[in-house]
């Protein structure tokens, strides 16, 4: 059968997930922009649009359950619906981190700029690139690429450590910067968490493609 009823539903589910993914990417990119360009209006926009993302999550949840109940998918179809249902809340949480970055930007934009932002935008770029590639790999069911992306999380973790040490030094040198430095630390931590979440998405793509659970199985599964 060329056109199974379930295929239309699975296509629609994929579209919904990719739309959520794209909206999440945009939230992250705008949150960082609101910080680096000190654009509080843009930060407000990110916070406002987070509600749309929450609604998208609910919509995908409902639709996934409907497909499970009515279409009773098996094998690859089943793994696809399960993966989407598990990736959806991950994307929503990434968007929450983007909102938190926007909130930090609102505070930071009212203070004098602590230093030129160099490392944080670089780290954010890495995280955004990982997210974009992870979603691309999911769409093309490319488990190999997903495995490579998982390894890239190390770069984000190292950047976090570097930024952390640097900000602590700034705080020690000049205690009046503590408030701003702490906000920047939060931003770095949010980005570090996003890297972890992207890893989870990649693991789910390996599950979709190979029916293998690589979560909690260490480096040997990569």
């Amino acid at each position: 059968m060329e056109n199974r009823i379930i295929d239309q539903q699975l296509d629609l589910l994929r579209d919904k997930l990719l739309l959520l993914g794209g909206t999440t990417e945009k939230a992250l990119q705008r949150a960082m922009q609101s910080l680096t360009e000190r654009d509080s209006e843009l930060a407000q926009k990110v916070l406002k649009e987070d509600k749309i993302i929450d609604q998208m999550e609910l919509d995908i949840d409902r639709f996934s359950i409907e497909i499970l109940a009515l279409q009773q998918p098996a094998a690859h179809d089943l793994r696809f619906v399960i993966s989407v249902a598990k990736i959806t809340p991950i994307l929503e949480r990434i968007a929450d981190h983007a909102s938190s970055i926007a909130k930090a930007a609102l505070i930071l934009n009212n203070e004098p700029q602590l230093k030129q932002y160099v490392d944080l935008p670089k780290m954010a770029e890495n995280a955004a690139e990982m997210l974009r590639s992870a979603l691309d790999a999911f769409t093309s069911e490319d488990a190999q690429t997903s495995r490579l992306i998982i390894k890239q999380d190390k770069i984000i973790n190292e950047a976090y450590k570097r930024i952390f040490n640097e900000l602590i030094e700034i705080m020690i040198d000049n205690p009046t910067t503590t408030n701003s430095a702490a906000q920047l630390l939060f931003v770095a931590k949010h980005l570090e968490r996003i890297g972890d979440y992207v890893k989870d998405i990649c693991e789910l793509n390996v599950y979709l493609t190979e029916a293998a659970f690589i979560k909690h199985s260490g480096k040997k599964s990569l």
Binding site: M1, E2, R4, I6, Q72, P73, A74, A75, H76, D77, L78, R79, A211
Partner: protein, 252 residues
């Protein structure tokens, strides 16, 4: 665990037409095995080779071996009547005898002389009905016609009738395909319960049913055994693409 049923290199022919090709598989004791596959794939034919029901078809011919409890059932020494008592069968359409509920169950016990005295016979009928989870529904009307039962009850009566002659193995050919969801659920619960004491082989077109009741699943196509695997594996990540295409309805 030693195999209850061991099939090796089985070929089956209806006259010149070959219906089964080189089937080999092992069925362990006290497990439920489901056969799935498109109509005409040979799964019912294969089921019927396990108690020589195909012997009733004059042009049928079998090659290869079927061992049950290690004994070749196609050997010349095999007592086919005794074989069919040990390997009971339940069909798609319930087929009670035009007799009372009691006599439907007592029939096999009587002709096989499996009882000593009236009380023993009554006890055996009661046990079979209880094993088929039908007793509570019929105990007050044992002497009424079996045709007065609902479709689901008639099917469980046929299962009780098969159980009454103390089989080892029960073959079921789409036992729930003509039943409503509630009756289907009862038959499925019964299958899972019977697994404690019997080895069960079931042919089904209902994928979810295979998933719910069976330990292993065998997928047949065009007379060939395509895949034989643990049921979880078959429905979550089958080895063969043909299996995946079949269970996800991708066949054209």
């Amino acid at each position: 665990m030693p195999s209850k049923i061991s099939v090796s290199n089985l070929n089956f022919f209806y006259g010149k037409d070959q219906a089964l090709y080189d089937i080999s598989l092992e069925i362990p004791e006290r497990e439920v095995l489901a056969f799935i596959g498109p109509s005409g794939c040979g799964k019912s034919t294969f089921l019927r080779t396990l108690n020589r029901m195909n012997d009733t078809i004059p042009i049928a011919r079998v090659e290869g071996k079927v061992l049950i409890n290690g004994i070749d059932i196609y050997s010349k020494k095999t007592d086919v009547v005794a074989l069919r008592r040990k390997v009971g069968m339940v069909f798609q359409k319930s087929n009670p005898f035009p007799k009372s509920i009691f006599d439907n169950i007592a029939y096999g016990i009587r002709i096989n002389r499996l009882y000593q005295g009236k009380t023993d016979l009554e006890e055996k009928v009661e046990k079979a009905l209880k094993d088929a989870v039908l007793w509570d529904e019929v105990k007050d009307r044992l002497n009424t016609s079996a045709f007065g039962l609902s479709g689901g009850q008639q099917q469980r009566l046929c299962i009780a009738r098969a159980l009454a002659v103390e089989p080892d193995i029960i073959l079921m050919d789409e036992p729930a395909s003509a039943l409503d969801p509630i009756a289907t659920q009862k038959v499925e619960e019964l299958i899972v319960q019977l697994k404690k004491d019997y080895t069960i082989v079931i042919v089904t077109h209902n994928m979810q049913q295979a998933g719910r009741v069976s330990d292993k699943t065998a997928f047949f196509m065009l007379g060939k055994l395509i895949e034989f695997n643990a049921t979880q594996k078959m429905f979550m990540n089958p080895n063969e693409k043909l299996t995946e295409d079949y269970i996800t309805g991708r066949f054209g």
